[in-house]
């Protein structure tokens, strides 16, 4: 602690760099300075959720290696026929771009949230939700297509039965995350639009006062969903 901290009570002593790490951890009250409770909680939750997805992916890789039947050619299975020509992984590529776009709009929503721009924030959140819903819709289309082609959790016409199991399980779990995210995005958009966050209206269930940090917390979750997709894209579709 420096003398400056004693003479200048208006700002808390905040150090940066590695020294900051040490002083933050050894300080009282909060280990993460300027991080609201909700945000800290979301980070810890995402850490835990990372382990969930990591376990899923590791399991998928293990069964892919251990299975005795050859794995289907993924880029063939997921190809679409456009104008008589087979384009591999086209749908997946579009889905990836959509999810990335939604991440972009979300990031901007967070920015405008902190600027207290109610309208822009709400619209951007809505756009994010729309992108998310589109993603889920395309996933539903993909599922339908595969099911029509005879892919089932217990087997498929292309090769190893684990292909279907892993596919439905991992994309299903990810799709579930996206769907939950969309629902919460809609709720959040309504809140922002009504001005709950400006007026600090207490929440319906929790009774906590609203504020724009909620948008960032929502954003963290959404980016995480995008992040997971990056890994699924690499390990499941490109392998």
């Amino acid at each position: 602690m420096t003398n400056e901290a004693l003479t200048n009570p208006a700002s808390l002593p905040v150090e940066n760099g590695l020294k900051g790490v040490v002083s933050d951890w050894s300080s009282d009250q909060r280990a993460f300075k300027k991080v609201p409770w909700g945000k800290a909680m979301m980070w810890v939750f995402l850490l835990s959720d990372t382990f969930v997805f990591a376990s899923f992916l590791v399991s998928y890789m293990t069964v892919r290696i251990s299975t005795t039947v050859p794995w289907p050619n993924v880029s063939k299975v997921f190809s679409l026929t456009v104008g008589g020509q087979e384009v591999p992984l086209l749908l997946i590529a579009i889905m990836t771009f959509i999810l990335i776009s939604s991440s972009g709009t979300m990031a901007m929503a967070v920015k405008f949230g902190y600027q207290k721009d109610r309208r822009k924030t709400a619209l951007l959140i809505l756009a994010t939700a729309a992108f998310g819903a589109t993603f889920v819709g395309m996933q539903a289309f993909e599922w339908t297509k595969l099911i029509m082609e005879g892919v089932r959790p217990w087997g498929n016409p292309f090769g190893a039965p684990q292909f279907g199991s892993s596919f439905f399980m991992i994309t299903g779990f990810h799709g579930f995350h996206v769907s939950v995210g969309v629902v919460f995005l809609l709720i959040m958009a309504a809140k922002v639009w009504r001005g709950d966050l400006d007026r600090e209206t207490p929440g319906f269930l929790t009774g906590r006062r609203g504020n724009y940090e909620m948008v960032e917390i929502m954003g963290l979750y959404w980016h995480f969903v995008d992040l997971v997709w990056v890994f699924i894209f690499a390990f499941f579709y490109l392998w």
Binding site: F32, L89, A93, I100, Y114
Partner: protein, 94 residues
């Protein structure tokens, strides 16, 4: 930590408004970069690269994308280092 200095404390606004305030161009840039990287990943498959090259490219793009999302979109680059380490250390270890 140059970012933290230039962004985190550049704006001496009242505590309520403090948060993550960055110019919108940063987000647009990253957005574009992510698009390009995804496109590259896709091309890896499209051109049927095989073997070691395929894998190093896929992983490279994957980590670049993940890093950009975490650092910029999730604002980790601008967080207190204490939080950054608390999150990265357990993830990295596993």
């Amino acid at each position: 930590m140059t970012h933290a200095e230039s962004h985190g404390h550049a704006n001496p606004a009242p505590a309520k408004l403090e948060g993550q305030a960055h110019p919108i161009s940063v987000y647009l840039w990253i957005w574009g970069l992510l698009f390009v990287l995804s496109f590259f990943s896709y091309l890896v498959d499209y051109f049927h690269f095989q073997g070691f090259l395929r894998w190093s490219l896929i992983l490279l793009f994957m980590f670049l994308k993940a890093g950009l999302i975490i650092a910029i979109f999730m604002h980790m680059a601008w967080e207190r280092l204490a939080l950054v380490y608390a999150i990265l250390v357990p993830t990295g270890r596993s």
